[in-house]
């Protein structure tokens, strides 16, 4: 079992004719993902090396003609917010936005435009994230597929490459994953820890979830509150990046900034601990914490 993506996932790649879009479309296809179409406005009919998926001008065409049900976005930052809304309007249920550097106001518009649409079944992952993978089933994103291994541990991460680090550690320790989701580190993201934890809670194929947080915001605190709000079936363990980060400096991610005394790593670690969520002091510890949580 898995959440968000599986064998039924049919992917349209927005920005498929770009360098990153075409590369990762091929990577996804190689992993076994059903890449059914690509979209680049004005380039319909174009051929993309190594792919036989048709290219369309609009996502609507990719849905109507190729039966896409999921989108992954590699378009430049200035056009990415619009690409998200395009996929939502075209009726897709899941949109994974890889693009980084989207202005905050653009994402606020997306967030509230989606709220106005009011489709509760629509899920946005990202932006500025590595995407979603259900190992052995489907990979929608940019993570290196070979580090994953099918299994019963879920993962939700605000970080990109750090996620791979932790997945790699899990796999090497023989701990497989149900679904791994990079939710992105931007200040305004589509899905937060608390939007996804209930899905894992309902997924009988998942026993435990690893949360990978970082400095900034209060999503980790909200996740901790969710965990103890009532009795949960799944176990949760965590890692928080940025313990040694100086306050006030922006560390790459727009979200990774500590300001006004809020969002420091040590506060997050303390809160998680208080709610019974073990926190690793080093990514390499995660497999051990998972083993202890789900013996």
């Amino acid at each position: 079992m898995a959440i968000l993506v599986d064998e039924t996932t049919r992917v349209v790649v927005q920005g498929i004719t770009g360098r990153d879009g075409s590369f990762h479309a091929r990577q996804m296809k190689e992993y076994g993902t059903n890449v059914v179409a690509g979209v680049t406005p004005g380039k319909s009919g174009a051929a993309v090396d190594g792919l036989n998926a048709p290219v369309f001008d609009t996502v609507r065409q990719a849905v109507d003609v190729a039966g896409a049900n999921t989108s992954v976005i590699y378009v430049p930052a200035a056009a990415a917010a619009d690409a998200i809304l395009e996929s939502a309007e075209a009726g897709l249920r899941l949109v994974v936005c890889i693009t980084e550097g989207i202005p905050v106001n653009d994402m606020l518009r997306v967030h509230h435009a989606l709220a106005v649409r009011g489709d509760k079944n629509f899920v946005l992952i990202g932006p500025n994230c590595p995407g979603v993978i259900s190992p052995g089933k489907s990979k929608v994103g940019i993570m290196p597929g070979f580090i994953h291994k099918p299994g019963r541990v879920g993962l939700i991460s605000r970080s990109g490459t750090l996620t791979y680090e932790i997945v790699h550690a899990l796999t090497q320790a023989g701990v497989g994953q149900s679904t791994c989701i990079g939710i992105g580190g931007d200040p305004v993201i589509g899905s937060r820890f608390t939007d996804l934890l209930p899905r894992f809670e309902s997924d009988t194929g998942t026993d435990a979830v690893v949360l990978v947080g970082e400095i900034g915001g209060s999503d980790e605190e909200l996740a901790a509150a969710w965990y103890t709000e009532r009795k949960r079936r799944i176990r949760v363990v965590a890692f928080i990046a940025g313990v040694s980060a100086p306050p006030g400096k922006r560390m790459g991610h727009a979200g990774a900034i500590i300001s006004g005394g809020k969002g420091a790593a040590k506060d997050k670690i303390e809160t998680l601990g208080r709610h019974g969520i073990p926190v690793a002091s080093d990514p390499a510890q995660i497999p051990e914490l998972v083993r202890r949580a789900v013996p």
Binding site: T161, I215, D282
Partner: protein, 380 residues
């Protein structure tokens, strides 16, 4: 991105906010003439991005133009935290009945913006917020709806000022939100905003921060960037589209992805090393980007080792390896490079490194590599 008070002041003035008369000056003589032109007593204020200039002696009152010139000659060239003062703002002395705080900030938790005001202006708003939260007035702004006039009045009339002042404050808040929104700002702040004895109001400070990701559509704001206020290596990195933060230690850190680099810092710190910097080469990295990253880190003066930590995702290990080999063949690198690389195209990357003829050592885990780096730095 941050700008100076004198720049934010111009944006506020354009937006219709009443601001105190002021002239910017970069020499004592110019400051003297500015004071003369303004007439009467003035304040001479250091133009620096960092806070706390008052306590540091960066703001002086002057009663005559000659005084203003003297004050400017003391302030110009002064170092306040990491900033050197290159400009002062000479501002009319405003009669003060009340000092208020007015601000608009991005509100992450509500996915919108908040308009904030306080009857206790002139002091640090975070201090007010911590000590006397009841003095803070707040209105949430839905990004699609915008700030409504009634919300601005709610704040204006909540500050306990005369009705005339309350209505002026409401007008100022609407203008402040408009300029904040129009420029993709993350902060617009007036502290203090002054109520005069005759109940008219005026801004005697001005502060704005902007969303770096949105600067591409605000050329005129981007042009306000004061390179003198920024770490030279951070500027160079920004120009190369890299995220760089100077930290001051001796181990250069290069990695891909903010979380991974942050964790690398954490792991190196835990191993007893002192990171010289944070350098994220980002997602989609070309060989050129890796080359620039190495060049920038090599400029860190106290550098004793470089730790390159790459986990390939959208970044491809072959691109990283190619960049690395390019720069190592072109430049004499004076410190050891500790490499840890895995992920997308890792075999291709390793092959490029091995076939380069350069004796490059790689480690399988972050922890191992961090220990080696810390060790080298300690014994260098």
């Amino acid at each position: 991105m941050k700008i100076h008070e004198y720049q934010a002041r111009l944006l506020f003035e354009e937006a219709g906010i009443p601001v105190a008369r002021a002239i910017v000056a970069d020499t004592p003589e110019a400051a003297r003439r500015a004071a003369e032109q303004i007439g009467g007593p003035v304040a001479v204020k250091a133009q620096v991005h960092v806070g706390g200039r008052g306590k540091a002696g960066g703001v002086k009152l002057a009663t005559t133009p000659a005084d203003a010139g003297n004050a400017a000659s003391q302030i110009l060239g002064m170092r306040i935290k990491q900033s050197v003062v290159c400009k002062v703002l000479v501002m009319e002395k405003v009669e003060i009945a009340r000092e208020l705080y007015l601000g608009v900030v991005f509100d992450r938790d509500h996915r919108g913006h908040s308009v904030i005001a306080s009857a206790a202006g002139g002091v640090d708003i975070e201090e007010v917020s911590a000590k006397t939260p009841e003095k803070i007035l707040k209105q949430f702004v839905h990004p699609l709806v915008g700030l409504s006039a009634h919300q601005a009045r709610q704040i204006g009339f909540g500050l306990g000022v005369p009705p005339k002042s309350a209505l002026e404050i409401a007008k100022t808040l609407l203008a402040l939100y408009t300029v904040y929104q129009r420029t993709d700002a993350s902060l617009a702040e007036i502290n203090p905003y002054v109520v005069r004895p005759d109940s008219t109001t005026v801004a005697i400070d001005a502060k704005m921060n902007f969303d770096d990701n949105a600067l591409f559509r605000h050329k005129s704001i981007e042009d306000m960037r004061d390179m003198g206020e920024e770490e030279p290596l951070e500027i160079e990195a920004k120009n190369a589209d890299l995220a760089y933060v100077h930290l001051g230690g001796d181990i250069g850190i290069i990695g891909n992805g903010a979380g991974l680099v942050m964790t690398t810092l954490d792991v190196v710190t835990a191993a007893g090393g002192r990171p010289a910097n944070f350098l994220d080469i980002g997602g989609s990295s070309s060989p050129e980007k890796v080359r620039r990253a190495l060049e920038i880190v090599l400029k860190e003066k106290s550098l004793k080792a470089i730790f390159l930590n790459v986990f390939g995702g959208i970044t491809r290990c072959d691109d990283v390896a190619t960049g690395l080999v390019q720069v190592l063949k072109a430049v004499q690198v004076r410190v050891p490079i500790i490499i840890r690389m895995t992920g997308t195209n890792v075999e291709l990357g390793m092959k490029i490194l091995n076939e380069s003829g350069l004796n490059l050592k790689t480690y399988p885990t972050m922890q191992e590599a961090a220990l080696v780096a810390a060790d080298i730095a300690r014994s260098a």
